[in-house]
């Protein structure tokens, strides 16, 4: 188990390093002078802009800038916003709350719904119920959240007046966006759970358990679900990338002031350090989650616990 962690960590670090490098390269390839962008509004003279360039270290060779960038990154410094002059890491921390709560709530809804639907479809494989669930699953992953979100607002906020349509804060603000985003992610979870369950259902020990006269439900929960659970954890963790992206759009629909809105504003103002900071933050968050999922997988699956991760 320890060796498994030790083997996984450098791999994850390598991917994060590559991602950070790609983000650096993309920013270097963007046309436009950052010093000019910073001082454009204040009407600075060319010599002031040149001084700013020197201060920011933009006159140094690219390799020097790159090494400095990585060094700062290691210390958790993501640079400063061109627009506000504030540290990017501080801006991200301020706005991460609504996004993380939305992503986690949506993950809960999506997992509960997805696992339940996948379970039912696999247990009743080939019947009309299976067809219905499979149809619902493919529909859920085809519906844009920016459409289902608007329809939900139309029905539950404007029509019935049950829930607020915008803003963040208490649980009532979270219900609609989390449900909309959760339903959107439940489709792929249901499909994968169903496929994995059907695979397990064909295993000899399931037939053996049935042969011993155990009830269908008992076999399903005690044997099949238990065997299918570890790989399901990985699948659910992989949903986090989708949820972070989906949260951006969902936040726009429900006017939540989270990371997505920050990303959107920074792109519209071409505040590239903030864009880069959010991207690197998201990549790190994603890597940490999938690392955690692998460890949970190893912990749940006794075979991996003994042999280490493949």
């Amino acid at each position: 188990m320890t060796s498994a962690i030790l083997r996984r960590v450098p791999q994850a670090l390598c991917v994060v390093w590559l991602a950070a490098t790609l983000a650096f390269a993309a920013m270097k390839l963007t046309p436009g002078d950052p010093a000019q962008a910073l001082l454009a509004a204040s009407g600075a003279t060319p010599s002031e802009i040149a001084a700013e360039r020197a201060r920011l270290g933009l006159d140094d060779p690219v390799l020097v800038q790159y090494v400095r960038y990585l060094g700062e990154l290691l210390r958790g410094n993501l640079g400063s916003s061109w627009l506000h002059g504030r540290p990017v890491s501080q801006m991200i921390t301020e706005r991460a709350g609504p996004t993380i709560s939305l992503a986690l709530a949506a993950l809960t809804v999506g997992t509960a719904l997805g696992v339940a639907l996948g379970l039912v479809a696999a247990a009743r494989q080939g019947t009309w119920l299976d067809t219905l669930v499979t149809g619902l699953a493919v529909t859920s992953l085809s519906i844009p959240v920016y459409w289902s979100g608007l329809l939900a607002i139309l029905l539950f906020s404007l029509g019935l007046g049950w829930l607020p349509s915008s803003g963040e804060g208490d649980l009532r603000h979270l219900i609609l966006p989390a449900t909309v985003l959760g339903v959107a992610s439940s489709g792929s979870i249901a499909r994968l759970v169903r496929a994995r369950m059907i695979e397990v259902l064909q295993a000899p020990y399931v037939t053996a358990a049935r042969g011993r006269g155990l009830s269908g439900w008992h076999v399903l929960t005690a044997h099949v679900l238990r065997a299918a659970l570890p790989s399901t954890v990985t699948v659910i963790a992989l949903q986090l990338g989708f949820l972070l992206g989906g949260a951006v759009v969902t936040e726009a629909v429900f006017a939540r002031r989270g990371l997505g809105q920050l990303a959107l504003e920074s792109i519209q103002w071409r505040d590239l350090p903030v864009v880069r900071g959010i991207i690197v933050f998201a990549a790190v968050a994603y890597m940490l989650t999938s690392l955690a999922a692998d460890l949970v997988h190893a912990w749940l699956d006794p075979r991996l616990r003994e042999d280490g991760l493949a």
Binding site: L18, A19, V138, S142, P144, L154, L240, G241, L243, A252
Partner: protein, 277 residues
Amino acid sequence: MIRWHPNARRPLARQPLTLLGLAWLLVVGLITVLVPALTHTSPMATDPARTLEPPSADHPLGTDALGRDVLTRLAWGARWTLQMGLLGLTLSVGLGLPIGLVAGAFGGWVDTLLMRLMDALLAFPGLLLAMALIAVLGSGLAPVAVAVGFTASPAYARVARSAAREVRSETYVQASRAVGAGPGRILWRHILPNASPPLLAFAAVQLGWILLNGAALNFLGLGVPPGTPEWGAMLAEGRGFLRDAPWASAFPGLALTMTVLAANLVGDGVQELMRPR
């Protein structure tokens, strides 16, 4: 050239949903070609006297906040949306297919290098990466297609890699190598045709993803200029009038959902064709 499973469990004729999806994609494709002949008003023609009108005989799907006919704009929107989708898909397959095939067919350090690079790209949440690319590329339909297509390509490379790995040790590939065929010829003549069914299925699924996320960028205002009859942009414009004129945003969303669903159904159906009975 494509090799299906000779004894598919569910042939195309027995997949009503796949056929329905194909039919819908065909209809949308036809609309994009025929739209100038089908519509008699311009999608940009405003009518200040008839804004936010509910569906009627004159305007079967109602009018928007500027009095423009929603149905006409929807039909023109098919052209914008599908153009973006096909451009994005071309880029995704154009980048992902060669990378994945080479990685899968050659293996070794080439495989490790290419796939680690793809992993790094996959570590970014898809839509966020596309948004960041827009920050670099600027806004417009082509940047949206490029951003979404590029973001989709690592996933395509992965599927192409596993498809190539599955056939690379087949006897016909070894036989071809034994008679002296070069790597290019083996890739093109043997690995690609035999690996193509899953590649085709995944291309359909990716078309759905590209449409969904490209329209999302337009919805967020990062893509096409305001007023463009593109489905995502129409949804965003109609959103301000949700209470008074839900049709202005509901119908573009419905059209988009049905097209994405059609692409996904076709993708699933093609996968079914490969499963042995």
